[in-house]
């Protein structure tokens, strides 16, 4: 588990940014592929401001983004779809930072359980993947996860979400 005394500068970010990072159901996680293409796919983020981190996971059934991170740890997370967040006219937020993949394929653990708690709460229909027994057998790969920690280095945000002009921006200290 990531140690907890490693507080970065995220606490200095404005509340409109914290609100988005904590409430959005999904973000667009971009990694850099082998050929240099930035590839984004939707991902469920869990914001851990007390540790200065964002936690994401991916199944080993879709390991490409993890392989990309192993080769190039620089990633970005765009929070631009507010559907289901409960926020009214939230900002759009772009987080750029370094990603680290925890060792091993995980099926349980404190952080992974926190991720599943988030998923089960915001996506109730995901219970279809856990019953009945034949579905559990067929879908077990979905629960074999690689846990990804992202430490933000730069946070950009557009208060009106229009992304028409340059964003407000905060550089975060390198405390890693």
């Amino acid at each position: 588990m990531e140690h907890r005394d490693d507080v970065s500068g995220v606490s200095a970010l404005p509340s409109e940014v914290h609100d988005v990072l904590g409430a959005f159901l999904c973000c667009e996680l971009a990694t850099v592929g082998r050929d240099g293409t930035a590839l984004a796919w939707p991902a469920v983020p869990l914001y851990l401001p007390e540790r200065g981190l964002l936690l994401l996971t991916t199944t080993i059934g879709f390991p490409v983004k993890a392989r990309n991170i192993e080769r190039q740890p620089k990633v970005s997370l765009l929070f631009s779809d507010a559907t289901g967040s409960g926020l009214v006219q939230p900002a759009a937020v772009l987080v750029q930072g370094e990603a680290r993949i925890a060792a091993g394929v995980q099926t349980w653990g404190e952080d992974l359980a926190a991720h599943w708690r988030r998923v089960m709460t915001i996506q109730p229909v995901s219970s279809r993947f856990t019953r009945p027994a034949p579905v559990r057998w067929f879908m077990d790969w979905y629960f074999m996860r690689l846990v990804i920690y992202v430490r933000p280095r730069r946070v950009s945000w557009w208060p009106d979400r229009a992304m028409a002009g340059p964003p407000r921006q905060a550089e975060l200290p390198d405390v890693g």
């Binding site: 050929d35 930035a38 984004a40 469920v44 914001y47 559907t83 772009l94 750029q96 599943w116 067929f138």
Partner: protein
């Protein structure tokens, strides 16, 4: 391939353009692509709000409902370039491949996606000499029972809830 691009884009209002920025970090922004069928280009924007390098890039279209279901996604890979601004086209993407995600290839397509993922997971483990791990279903079920009826805000970290 252009027909696939056009079909993918016509069902989404906007999309996420991703490219590499000047310092090597990926950058993503929302854009509203328009189709230039004659030149088979996606017209992205006159100006981008953050610096992006020309070259390989991608456009992701995705959507979900209020409960993160009815997921749909498709990724279009291509080459990002800055067209002549006076042409009115400015930033454009020339598509090179369409990568289906979920929900855009029909139920059969999703089933194929899941089956392929199951096989990939097996290969992932085999290449590393790992036994297939056992999922602790009792813990998963207990967690699911504990979150039944919870609000989304209840599943954020304590620090988020305390703000």
């Amino acid at each position: 391939m252009w027909a696939e691009v056009a079909a993918a884009l016509e069902t989404f209002d906007d999309a996420v353009l991703s490219a590499v920025g000047p310092d090597g970090y990926p950058v993503s922004v929302r854009v509203s692509p328009r189709l230039d069928a004659a030149d088979e280009l996606l017209l992205l924007a006159d100006e981008l709000p953050v610096p992006m390098a020309t070259g390989p890039a991608s456009v992701l279209c995705h959507s979900h409902d209020q409960q993160l279901w009815h997921l749909r996604s498709v990724l279009i890979r291509g080459v990002l370039s800055r067209d002549v601004p006076e042409s009115g086209r400015s930033w454009v993407l020339r598509p090179t491949a369409v990568v289906p995600g979920t929900g855009t290839a029909g139920p059969l397509g999703d089933a194929r996606t899941f089956l392929a993922a199951r096989r990939r997971a097996g290969r992932y483990l085999a290449r590393r000499g790992l036994q297939r791990p056992v999922v602790p279903w009792a813990d998963v079920r207990a967690l699911r029972r504990s979150v039944r009826g919870a609000r989304p805000a209840d599943s954020t970290s304590e620090a988020v809830r305390g703000r």
